[in-house]
Amino acid sequence: MSFFKKLKNKMTTQSDTVTEKFKDGLTKTRTSFSSKVNTLVSRYRKVDEEFFEELEEILIEADVGVATVMDLIDELKDEARIRNIKETVDLQSVISEKLAELLHKEDEDSNINLKDNELSVILFVGVNGVGKTTSIGKLAHKLKSEGKKVMLAAGDTFRAGAIDQLEVWGERVGVDVVKHSEGSDPAAVVFDAVKSAQSKGVDVLLCDTAGRLQNKVNLMNELEKIKRVISREIPGAPHEVLLVVDATTGQNAMNQAKTFSQTTDVTGIVLTKLDGTAKGGIVLAIRHELDIPVKLVGLGEKVEDLYRFDPDQFVYGLFADMIKAEEEE
């Protein structure tokens, strides 16, 4: 059975609506990616250096990143040699297969790690303007609709209007927000939030932090302190440290993932704004080079547009056209 058929079968057992949402959200990504591969295949009949070079460009254009692309191309070249593939048409499914392999790590848990009947703390970190506060708002909505009691901590005490922004989300979703005034110590806010969450019997506490560029040592130290405060109050917490990454980001996302992991042991990635860009290739690079799973993706502006990341769904969304084409053959 072909790789795509297996994937298709797996998909039909899952809820259709979410898969559809992935397909819709990834429309731009998919059409640009698979149509480009298709044109490439029809232009080059024979598998040769030039073919690989152009394939390399398509992948690079998708922000997959030079290192990952080089590895991928090398693997493809080997594969072509081993299987003795001469026609580009025959290589097409190998390309998709390789990409899917990259995204797909077995025994990986992309679920948000939450404690039963106990307070779980999730810390959100990331550079400026990636959508931390918005993601928190969306996740709060999601958790609340699953019946959890949620609380938000306004840990971004630096950016003008950040506390107000989180409060608006709190009202919208209907959850409590713990805040101090602008310019106060974020660790103190988080400390109060943990205390308050414990006494009020909250299930999940979502902690916002100010956006910071990963090369600012002092700000990264501040983040470390916030995390330390949480761990001191609740052993084993924070249960998740989610790095929020903008899908339009280029190779710097890799630096972000590396540096934030060093400071705060990032346990997962939230990939935002994936609906608008033609790319998202950085997902491949992050999974290829670092061992951090993508846990959530933002696929739209509405409050419910935050989804659990499912590699299978992502691949299916990416290759939906190709899968259909293969079926028709």
Binding site: A160, D164, G250, A253
Partner: protein
């Protein structure tokens, strides 16, 4: 430091060529491959990279040999020139309306930093041009966006025009301009909501705002970390609105910022400003020619000098120079100097601008701990007037008192005294040197 990665990479590549007397075609090919990879890794759009590499290759293999340069230097020169050309040649300034107010419209994706940049730009206009702009809050979508602009307005002491979130942005912008005319503001900056370039509804709204207020500048705010898609984003906004400039934000991060290189070449829109930090004064005009030498590791001496000029009081510098010559340099002078240098910005940023700092291993990841400088200040401030002038009189008991007063250890006090002595010695050597060579005054003695 921004662009450092790219600088390093090209530096390494060019180093190989630099040492040689002659560049073979194989060398050029090898080098171009490296340049290509470096640029791609730096997120420069692959189409731009292709053109760039082809151009450089052609010129590098072709003649154009200047006698004073080795062929290796020649290639460096070509890469530098092409890079500068790619980034926009000359520095480009803000347009000014014939009849005030000059209307500036800020557009861009979500999270690029439009609102922050609006605040920074307002601050820039006041500091450099002595103008007080009116800020118009036309982002009615993102929660608390209006609050954010109002807070910035409060910090700057500037008025912000808003009509809540129930009025259409077009209407808000229109009324904002009217208000600015009434109150005789020279500039109006309209902050619009972030939107995806594929969102037709919201893109049309921007066109409507444009029609309503007829802006003199439409600036797109782009995150310097943006990947290959930066070009598509800029292109879409450009097609829809006819952009007049780009503001590149978050360039103080460690991104290689290749997006900057692509945008101009694809949209033919100049980069007018760069955001270099979180504070409101961290907006600088973009200097394409300087930036490209920075990429090549030649340092950004010009930027540094300009920075120093606006911040260091020239008269004080002269006095200081005099003092150094006569060796009457005291701890008071030292403290003053320290304050002046610090007023130029974070020290690690300054160091990154020095030529060759990209190459020097010691300076590579230098993070100047600003706290240490605070300690130094505290120690000096704990000295008596007499001690500051004559540090020689500081004995063990005085040291103990100083340490106690500043809350630092005696070892730290000792270290500072030692450093101060060394510095004086060094200065003596330096002044002797410049006397001997009859060179003009030293402009920046602290470097």
């Amino acid at each position: 430091m921004a662009f450092e990665g790219l600088a390093d990479r090209l530096q390494q590549t060019l180093q190989k060529v630099r040492g040689k007397g002659k560049v073979t075609e194989a060398d050029v090919k090898e080098m171009m491959r490296e340049v290509r990879l470096a640029l791609l890794e730096a997120d420069v759009n692959f189409k731009v990279v292709k053109q760039f590499v082809a151009k450089v290759k052609e010129r590098a293999i072709g003649q154009e040999v200047i006698e004073s340069l080795t062929p290796g230097q020649q290639v460096v020169k070509v890469v530098n020139e092409e890079l500068t050309a790619l980034m926009g040649g000359q520095q480009s300034k803000l347009a000014v309306a014939n009849r005030p107010p000059t209307v500036i419209m800020m557009v861009g994706l979500q999270g690029a930093g439009k609102t922050t940049t609006t605040g920074k730009l307002a601050n820039f206009l006041r500091k450099k041009h002595n103008r007080t702009p009116l800020l118009v809050a036309a982002d009615i979508y993102r929660p608390a966006a209006i609050n954010q602009l109002q807070t910035l307005g409060k910090q700057l002491g500037m008025s912000v025009f808003e009509m809540g979130t129930d009025t259409s942005p077009v209407e808000i912008a229109k009324k904002g301009i009217e208000k600015a005319k009434e109150e005789h503001h020279d500039y109006v900056i309209v902050d619009t909501a972030g939107r995806l370039h594929v969102d037709e509804g919201l893109m049309d709204e921007l066109s409507n705002i444009k029609e309503a207020v007829n802006p003199d500048e439409i600036l797109i705010v782009v995150d310097a970390m943006t990947g290959q898609d930066a070009v598509n984003v800029a292109q879409s906004f450009h097609d829809q609105l006819g952009l007049t400039g780009v503001v590149l934000t978050k360039l103080d991060g460690d991104t290689r910022g290749g997006a900057a290189l692509s945008i101009k070449s694809v949209t033919d829109t100049p980069i007018k400003f760069v955001g270099m930090g979180e504070k409101l004064d961290a907006l600088e005009p973009f200097h394409p020619e300087r930036m490209s030498s920075r990429i090549l590791g030649m340092g950004d001496v010009l930027s540094l000098i300009e920075k120093a000029q606006t911040n260091v009081d020239e008269k004080k510098a002269k006095e200081l120079e005099q003092k150094m010559r006569t060796m009457s340099f005291t701890f008071d002078d030292f403290l003053e100097q320290l304050t002046q240098v610090r007023s130029m910005g974070p020290l690690d940023e300054l160091l990154g601008m020095l030529p060759g700092s990209g190459q020097m291993k010691q300076l590579k990841n230098v993070k100047v701990d600003e706290k240490q400088l605070n300690y130094v200040e505290a120690i000096i401030q704990s000295m008596t007037k007499k001690e500051k002038i004559e540090p020689d009189i500081i004995n063990a008991s005085r040291k103990r008192r100083i340490a106690k007063g500043s809350g630092r250890s005696i070892q730290e006090v000792n270290r500072l005294l030692k450093q101060f002595e060394d510095m004086k010695k060094m200065m003596k050597q330096m002044t002797n040197m410049s006397k001997g060579k009859k060179k003009g005054g030293m402009k920046l003695p602290f470097m």
